[in-house]
Amino acid sequence: MLSGLAVCATITAAFAGVTGAWSPCGFSMVETIGSALGDARRGATLLASATFALGTLIGGVVTFGGLALLGQLIGGHSSWLREALGAALALAAAVADWRGLKLAPQIRRQVPERWRWTMPLPLACALYGILLGLGFTTFVLAFAVWALAGISFAAGDPLLGALVGVAFGAGRAAPVLWLAPGLRRGAGDGDGARRLDEMASEPRLLLGLRRLDALGLVFCALALGGASATASAKAASVAAATDPSASGGELVWQQLAGPGALLNAAGAVSALPGVHPALGGGLVAWASPTAVTVADATTLTPRLALPVTGVTALAVSSSWLVYRRQTAPDGAEQLIAVSLADPARQRRLASAKLPGQIGRPALDGARAVFALNTPRRSAIELVALASGRLRPLRVATRDAQFSNPSLMGGALLFERTTRCLQQLQLDVTTPRRGARERTLLRMRSTVSRDIGYEPGFEHAYNMGSVCGDQGAGGGGKTRLGPTALSGASVYVTEITGVGARIVSLRR
């Protein structure tokens, strides 16, 4: 589903594209495609119109999709700052377009006229279309074009960028497609010619379109600023908390000094009668010293009470419960899955002699995911609970640790930690062509590093000791912890010293 920002940016881009019809190139395109051909070559006019439209779409996608891709590549750590700057840019452009201010800086260039004479008309029009679709190769008629470029970059979402590009290209092509076929100069001018003359003699039309751009930009600014403000506000909203679990607009977590807590869809927080809470499939689960309880997430009416002791983590879905329990005083642990339809049907997913090796589980329907870490191997394992088939999703035998996975639909949220960095990553569970892992959060390692040479000695050629994101000295103060994934947000625990808080980020 498209976000509010994507919708308003796409609509604004379409208006901004139409605004371009008032540029020297816009008028020239109508004349180029529509004139001098006449009814006798109507087919050629239509073909040229089609290639021109295709060109504008390609150009638009290249510019705005490319900027969005660049924004994504730059990373998500400072996304709130980019969003705030994008919102400010959109507002400034809205004011300028509403007031009809003169464009500055202006790009005083036009498409090459010679193409019209030296190339077949469809080819020339395709190339003209690409240049006009690119947006910044010729005259710009509205500040909205600049603002949309900033919004695409700030959003860092290639899909949004591509949509903006398509809308902008379509907007640039629409007036030409509308006017050119009806253009016939001379005695008894066609409808197209009359409309073209009206456009040229009526600047209020242009101002009206720029004001539509301005309105669209205001909504874009609100969407961007709202997202930024929400991310900042939510970051501090769940303090002294860890182990988040989310489902259907609800969130549960473990309070640092107390029982589990539930934030329902209406925004009310209530304490749960147990610890290590988990949400999923309309159910909530919690543990007590002697049992695990599964209850309705709305009414908290118990559905199942499973007599288990020593539970240290839980996950629940509409059909399965997974719990981690300590099985021996020395800390040995097991991860067990229980069918909610038939609690006698149980499956052991993992065992470990030492505590800490089996990570906190997460469930999505009948699929469980958890981290399994030893000094020899770090992995995120996916288990199909119906068949018991286990498949590693991520594996490292050196230099990295994978931890704290969450699963929803085809999306996998997890953390990757190296000697230099901690990263919160969002990817698909089954890699497919073109799918790309996204870094939602990036922090320096918490580990102290020396300077790579002993004081008093030459210190050249020690690049092997260098950690680009982290110099010498103490590491970062914040460590990434357990995560949760919902339709619109990701949740991650930030652990600092003895404190912890749950931070929400936009997906």
């Binding site: 240290t312 800490g356 000094p375 230099d399 640790q401 000697r419 020396d450 002993e454 030459e458």
Partner: protein, 195 residues
């Protein structure tokens, strides 16, 4: 001519006194000269530590450190990484760990998550082969050289492979590598032997 004897002093006492002082001074002077000479000779033959070693004591020439979780490429005798400052074992993330590979604090106590669960271990891999994996090479420790550093014997371990380039990006040296192999990067092991 014998020295003039003070009144009332016995000859034997005077001889003893004079010969003793002079003998000591002669012996001391000779020793100082020998020591100074030895230092001069040693200085001429051996490299001065601060000037001739690169990155850390004992490492001659300019080959760079092997990538190491905490910086200086200190390893144990099996090539696993140690924190240079105190020799504590560290995992690949640079966290101090116990014998089971579990992260520990400065007092050796297990580090824990906010919910009380111990922190998850991470891979702990040999520094030299890991460097090879990073750079697409098959690397291992070949020969070594020993030097006295900070009052203990230090083993300089060349991480070698069939490569003509070293980690610095330029031409690799033979170093202590076996025939046909060159030094890619360097690491060291601090022995318990005093020097």
């Amino acid at each position: 001519m014998p020295p003039e004897q003070p009144d009332g002093e016995r000859l034997s006492d005077a001889v003893l006194r004079n010969s003793s002082r002079r003998g000591f001074l002669e012996w001391a002077g000779t020793a100082i000269i020998a020591l100074a000479g030895a230092r001069t000779v040693a200085k001429g033959v051996l490299p001065d530590e601060a000037d001739a070693y690169t990155n850390f004591c004992g490492h001659t020439y300019t080959t760079g450190n092997c990538p190491h979780p905490t910086g200086l490429p200190r390893v144990d005798r099996h090539d696993y990484p140690l924190r240079a400052s105190d020799g504590h074992p560290v995992d690949d993330l640079g966290r101090p760990v116990n014998a089971q590979g579990q992260p520990v604090d400065a007092h050796g106590q297990l580090l824990r998550e906010p919910d009380g669960e111990p922190l998850a271990p991470a891979p702990r891999s040999k520094v030299c082969p890991a460097a090879g994996d990073d750079y697409g090479l098959d690397l291992r420790t070949d020969g070594s050289w020993y030097r006295c550093c900070g009052g203990r014997v230090r083993r300089m371990m060349d991480c070698c492979g069939k490569t003509s380039k070293r980690i610095n990006g330029d031409e690799a040296l033979v170093g202590y590598c076996y025939p046909g192999r060159h030094v890619f990067c360097v690491q060291y092991y601090e022995t318990m032997v005093p020097c």
